[in-house]
Amino acid sequence: MAGGGATGGSVQTDTYAGARGWLLLPAWVTLGILTLAPLAIMLVYSFLTKEFRGGVIWEFSLDAYDQFFFDRGLFGDAPPQIEWTYIGIFWRSIWQAGLATLLSLLIGFPTAYFIATRPEKQRALWVFLVTIPYWVNLLIRTVSMKFLLRDQGPLNEGLMALGVISEPLTIVNTNLAVQLGLFYSYLPFMVLPIYAAVERYNFALSEAAADLYAPRWTILRRILIPAVKPGILAGCILVFVPSLGSFLAPDLLGGARNFMIGSLIEEQFKGNAGNWPFGAAASMILLTMVLILLIVSARQSQKEAR
């Protein structure tokens, strides 16, 4: 039961060992051509010389990585110091995405659990209830969310009418708004994997624990959550990683006063900077970071399982 979506969990059986190649072939072909090949191009680009206003010159260069880690002043001729700008941007994004993931988990887990414990016939309906909003474009949903959260928006007016607050809360253009936006963008990605895992959970385990006088919150913590951990991990990854690179919620709800990873990289390819190697290098650093994070968390959960 160890590991998560990222590690793929442990091998349970070798029933299909004979067909292994055929089962994996479609994934290898599709992703090999459509993901690995383009990514290899990007990796190469990160080591090339930038062409002014976008594009690359086919000459080896470490400038992109140098720019990421070393600060040479406004004019590029000061003695190099450690560059905190981009590390700061990465740290901010990780922090925001992490909080958004936590928020999604806190609300998504009970929701997923609740759905999975409905009578079987109702479950599909509840699942659809959670996913129907996602038929509406993310941009439109985010704009509407902003409308609700505005200083003079319905939320503030409602709370003031109820006497909960006397001054409108400023939510738009704060970090809280970004987290709410990210949470709203990716909630089903938390709910559905957890639902799929809890749905499979054998409640006899809970029964047995309860028979041994375990309080029910202890059962939740010690029996249920470990049992559905692959679902929780899958959900966290599906919310956390896209949140890292997302730019819509930070831009519209957070006010875009500061770069996030997504907007920083986008600026290199689509913005004024037009520095493709730097954008590629920043992507490679992000990719490495995420991979390390996943491997560490996978190792950790495998250790726990032993």
């Binding site: 002014f52 206003r53 976008g54 594009g55 406004l74 004019f75 590029g76 700008t85 700061g88 941007i89 704009v143 409308f147 505005r150 200083d151 003079q152 738009v172 253009n173 831009d251 519209l252 006010g255 875009a256 006063r257 500061n258 770069f259 390819f269 689509k270 913005g271 004024n272 900077a273 037009g274 520095n275």
Partner: protein, 345 residues
């Protein structure tokens, strides 16, 4: 269920091949969204028996990025802004229009016939032009708004209620006007001062957003918003009590231009289309639709008179000089990129 799914897939596959089929007499336009009335396209299509395919982009920079990533050679014409015409020409992405190839070239208004961004109009014709400045909500502030201090050194009641465009060019050009320095300054003291000034000004800014520049003014979320003249007019029409400012320090003008792209697959039709847009009546239809200004002689008589009267089109006598965004050389641009990164880090 299985069968219906198969049918859907088959139908879709057919759709995929059908739309890939090319027709004779084509014109592929790369354009901003909702920037040309459909009736006008239909008329051109009928008159010349040409099938029009239109694709859209969302910023000058993304137009450049897409073309440089390899899309050049699939489009015939595009509509870049002034500084982007110069950049694209420098990148070799534009084809040259030989003398005599455009029958209506003489229709270009004299003041737009030899612009700094495309001397002699070798690659482009005027499409629409307007200005970029800022609008102020009059319910929140009654004082003088015709100064760039409103953006960079705002009075207390406006601090924290300012939305800037999320665009390096527009913000830094405005900042240069505010400080009275050249846009592509290479003077280190000036550049340092510009960097510091922006850092201090940022404290007063609530957000950077181009897409909702109009909405934040209408909803009252922002009291001041950097904005294009046409959008400021629309915000006013939607009920925002805003005035459009013409700072005494100067303001930004822009012009979008139809350019002939290099390796255009339908060069003949592209030229026909440019000639078509140089007819006063046709370009006036665009103006009436987009609410900006045409750069063609004789277009005025076909333009909605209300447009000419709106305050956004009539700078007061004391307004500063309108300037285009300038294209800097590589070394200077890198410093400006650094300043922008510092501002947004």
């Amino acid at each position: 269920m299985k069968r219906s799914l198969k049918a859907t897939v088959a139908a879709a596959a057919l759709g995929l091949t059908a739309s890939a089929a090319a027709a004779e007499g084509k014109l592929v336009i790369y354009h901003w969204f909702e920037y040309i009335p459909q009736e006008l396209l239909d008329r051109f299509s009928q008159e010349n028996d040409v099938e029009i395919v239109m694709d859209t982009y969302d910023s000058n920079e993304s137009l450049l990025a897409t073309l440089k990533a390899g899309a050049i050679g699939t489009y015939d014409v595009a509509v870049p802004g002034d500084y982007m015409v110069q950049i694209m020409a420098g990148e070799g992405l534009l084809d040259e229009i030989a003398e005599g190839e455009l029958a209506n070239k003489g229709n270009i208004a004299p003041e737009w016939a030899d612009p700094s961004f495309d001397p002699g109009r070798k690659h482009s014709i005027p499409y629409q032009w307007g200005s970029t400045s800022f609008a102020v909500n009059r319910d929140m502030y009654e004082g003088d708004i015709n100064t760039t201090d409103i953006l960079f050194n705002p009075p207390e009641e406006l601090s924290g209620k300012i939305n800037m465009l999320d665009s390096q060019g527009e913000v830094l050009a405005m900042a240069a006007l505010h400080m009275g320095i050249p846009q592509c300054s290479t003077d280190r003291d000036q550049l340092r001062a510009l960097n510091d000034m922006l850092q201090n000004a940022k404290v007063h800014w609530a957000s950077f957003n181009s897409d909702t520049a109009k909405e934040v003014l209408v909803s009252g979320d922002a009291a001041v918003g950097q904005i294009y003249d046409g959008f400021a007019a629309k915000a006013r029409e939607e009920g925002a009590n805003t005035d459009y400012a013409f700072p005494t320090q100067g303001y930004v003008v822009w012009m979008d231009n139809v350019v002939l792209l290099k390796d255009a697959p339908n060069r003949e039709n592209a030229l026909k289309f440019m000639d078509f847009l140089l007819e006063p009546e046709n370009i006036a239809a665009v103006t009436n639709y987009a609410r900006y200004n045409a750069g063609v002689t004789g277009a005025a008589e076909f333009v909605d008179p209300a447009l000419a009267e709106q305050p956004e089109s009539n700078p007061p006598a004391e307004a500063g000089e309108p300037v285009f965004i300038q294209v800097c050389d590589r070394e200077t641009q890198e410093v400006y990129d650094q300043i922008w990164t510092n501002l947004k880090k």
